[in-house]
Amino acid sequence: MKGGKFSKRAELMHEVIIHIILVGLIFAVFFMATSEKINARGVRQQVLEKQTALLIDSAVLGMSFEIPKKNLNGIVQSVELKEGKVFIGIEGLVSFKGCPYFSKYSISVEESQDKFIIRIK
């Protein structure tokens, strides 16, 4: 009888612990998603990508401009130009969509120690 009671209690405890762990995990996922929205890395990335794309759109031959790695929109980790789109990685957030630009010139990106340089050739 005693053994039965104990095993039932243990079973219940086991179930409760698993539930707590799982609820904790779900809460962590929620928390991460919410913090992602609050620090607005995505919006800052969008701002920088669109600013850069508009600069490229309106640039004339021979122009070059710099994007400091320590930017107002966060730490810039990468600047890439692929298939007519600008992709900028900010604080570990990789850009998947990018922002389209148009230019009749050849555009290139160079990375130096503290900045990215975009050249219009």
């Binding site: 079973e11 179930e15 698993i18 799982l22 779900i26 996922v29 929620f30 998603a33 929205k37 607005a40 995505g42 919006v43 969008q46 701002v47 669109k50 794309a53 508009l54 759109d57 309106s58 298939e83 007519g84 969509k97 922002c99 389209p100 630009y101 148009f102 230019s103 009749k104």
Partner: protein
């Protein structure tokens, strides 16, 4: 007592718990998905792109003193040096008229049907927030153009429409 009934019961309870967990996870994912749609912020720069494109087209036609009659009628942006993949969101139309307002020449590129979509958006009085981000960018302006072939001044109406990038 039935032998093995306890074990079977435990297995059954375990399966039920997995089912409950899957349900909770599913609901959590749905809530996360909906919240990400509602809280995402979209910045629309299509009107600015239209203004920039208009300036580029005007520069292309005037600064190079182009013979507008030799340009392929529906390949204006290609003439100005743009690749097709860069300009597939654009509809560009340049209409040349004389002093009396008669159309002398027209140059364009892109899908003119996009103008119809723009009108449809304009007719919509109360714009729904989720639809708003698809409204195309638009710019229209009149400029003066000197036709060096016929040695006369023409009016040049530049119209640019920029579609959504997604």
């Amino acid at each position: 007592m039935i032998k093995g009934a306890g074990k079977r019961g435990a297995i059954g309870e375990g399966i039920l718990m997995i089912y409950r967990l899957i349900m909770v996870m599913f609901i959590a994912l749905v809530i996360l998905g909906i919240s990400s749609v509602f809280y995402s912020h979209y910045i629309n720069v299509r009107d600015t792109e239209a203004v920039i494109m208009a300036r580029q087209v005007v520069d292309c036609l005037t600064l190079t003193n182009s013979d507008i009659y030799s340009i392929e009628k529906n390949r204006l942006l290609a003439f100005c040096g743009y690749d097709d993949y860069e300009t597939n969101r654009f509809f560009v139309r340049v209409t040349f008229t004389n002093d009396s307002g008669k159309q002398v020449h027209i140059l364009s590129q892109g899908d003119s049907g996009a103008l119809w979509v723009k009108e449809l958006f304009e007719k919509q009085e109360k714009k729904i927030e989720s639809v708003k981000k698809y409204v195309p960018g638009y710019f229209k302006e009149d400029y003066l153009f000197f036709d060096s072939i016929n040695n006369k001044e023409l009016n040049m109406k530049v119209e640019i429409l920029v579609n959504a990038e997604f």
